[in-house]
């Protein structure tokens, strides 16, 4: 799972154009939205696309995103369990 978490950190930085953020800056349990990385609603939608494109997971209910994208930890756990790719 460690490798997946690192991979996710790196992907998020790239996909969401997080300039000046390094993989080392993101802690596994940091809040991604709100105060933490400060991601917003469009970022959440992009992460949904990323789940589909890179891991083959189609979110049936986009509202699930709130829980899944809480932190790198929760994202990795969800992807690990549901990935198709």
């Amino acid at each position: 799972m460690e490798a997946l978490k690192q991979e996710l950190k790196s992907k998020i930085i790239e996909v969401l154009n997080l300039e000046d953020v390094a993989v080392a800056d993101i802690n596994d349990n940091d809040a991604l939205f709100g105060d933490g990385l400060g991601l917003d609603s469009i970022d959440a939608l992009e992460l949904i696309v990323m789940l589909d494109k890179d891991y083959g997971i189609k979110l049936v209910d986009p509202k699930e995103g709130k829980v899944i994208f809480k932190s790198i930890e929760t994202m990795a756990a969800y992807i690990d369990e549901n990935r198709v790719k």
């Binding site: 917003d40 609603s41 939608l45 696309v49 986009p62």
Partner: protein
């Protein structure tokens, strides 16, 4: 003395009619343009939308001209403008301007990598050349407020004595580009849209064109443009301000320019896209202004969200509403689902409409409000 400016001609081309009268007839009978469409070229699954029938469009266009090589949107725009140009007999000289409102224009040209045809000034030029306008066309491309913003721009230019007449056409098409985009935003409803309703879950896309003549000539005035304002939320590029700040200020300023109080507004033709955030924001803004008891509807239950056409199309229908002293039902509404009370028109009814307000909001945090006054 500031000139008074009026709308003297109107027309629209929509899935429920190729003139204003047919549209009004269908609206009175609660006939919506929204249907389930299975068009793989537009989307990979059946989806609800309000789309103009191609054969009807081509048949109608053939009556205007046998010339070919016009895009689908250009045909829709020419059909909207043609009767009002013919009827108005306005001289095409340097005092007559042509304004085109659209968000994406001929974006479908990108599907065949024909970028040149996607330029909006090219679209405007094609329409301008067809009719023989003598002045440089003005294109307003400002997201979903474009259609009503164009009316505001025309009024301002005429009051500044730069022109006497302005023909405006507004239009957008339902395209793969748009459908996929709204879908990526999770903003497209899986059922016909339900503005202001508790179970609303997004827009239904639509396409249409509308055309008006804005003029300083009172002679054939249908309605007076009494006040207008377009204020940005300065909050977020795709979500509206939670306090409805931009819309609130736009309406406030439009009322001030029209020299009336909120309690003189008889009807509001709102934006009502049926997204959770837009409708909530509008309810908040209307309440802040004390407009919660004014009958309000969203016409998107009939037309879907027609993007660059919506502001003008809905104004055209609202003008009829005012002229006929009739409030039209806010189709698609069932149970109120916004946190602040507003008075949704739930069935067609008679009313005296002296002043009405048209509002629109759009991506980029833009808002436009225009107060219209009946001419006596």
């Amino acid at each position: 003395m500031i000139k008074e400016v009026y709308i003297t001609e109107t027309n629209c081309i929509t899935p429920i009619g190729f003139d204003v009268a047919s549209n009004i007839k269908n609206i009175r009978n609660a006939v919506s343009g929204i249907q389930l469409h299975d068009k793989p070229k537009l989307f990979n699954a059946p989806f609800y939308a309000s789309i103009i029938n191609d054969s009807d469009l081509d048949l109608a266009f053939a009556k205007v001209t046998s010339t070919e090589n016009y895009s689908r949107l250009e045909k829709m725009m020419i059909l909207a403008l043609e009767p009002i140009i013919k009827k108005s007999k306005v001289l095409f000289n340097e005092r007559t301007v042509f304004i085109l409102s659209t968000t994406k224009g001929n974006v479908t040209a990108l599907e065949t990598e024909n970028v040149g045809s996607a330029y909006l000034n090219q679209l405007a030029k094609t329409i301008a050349v067809f009719f023989g306008f003598k002045t440089e066309p003005i294109v307003v491309s400002n997201a979903c407020v474009s259609g009503i913003l164009a009316v505001s721009v025309a009024k301002r230019l005429i009051q500044a004595e730069l022109y006497d007449n302005a023909f405006i056409v507004a239009g957008d098409e339902v395209s793969n580009f748009i459908v996929s985009g709204f879908n990526s935003f999770q903003a497209m409803s899986d059922l016909p849209c339900k503005p202001y309703s508790i179970n609303r879950n997004g827009v239904t896309l639509g396409e249409a064109t509308a055309a008006v003549l804005v003029s300083s000539n009172k002679e054939k005035a249908k309605i007076k443009i009494a006040g207008d304002s377009s204020i940005n939320d300065a909050n977020h590029i795709s979500g509206p301000s939670r306090t409805g700040e931009g819309l609130y200020r736009s309406i406030q300023k439009a009322l001030a320019e029209a020299k009336i109080n909120a309690n003189q507004i008889d009807y509001i033709s709102a934006h009502g896209t049926a997204t959770p955030f837009n409708d909530e924001m509008e309810a908040i803004a209307l309440n802040r202004l004390g407009l919660e008891n004014v009958p309000v509807n969203s016409l998107k239950g009939f037309y879907g969200h027609t993007l660059g056409a919506s502001g003008l199309l809905e104004t055209v229908i609202s003008i009829q509403s005012a002229l006929e002293n009739k409030l039209f039902v806010s189709l698609g509404f069932d149970e109120i689902g916004v946190s602040q009370p507003i008075t949704i028109i739930q069935k067609n009814e008679d009313a005296t409409i002296q002043y009405f307000l048209k509002t629109a909001s759009g991506f980029g945090g833009c808002n436009t409000a225009v107060v219209f006054e009946k001419v006596n």
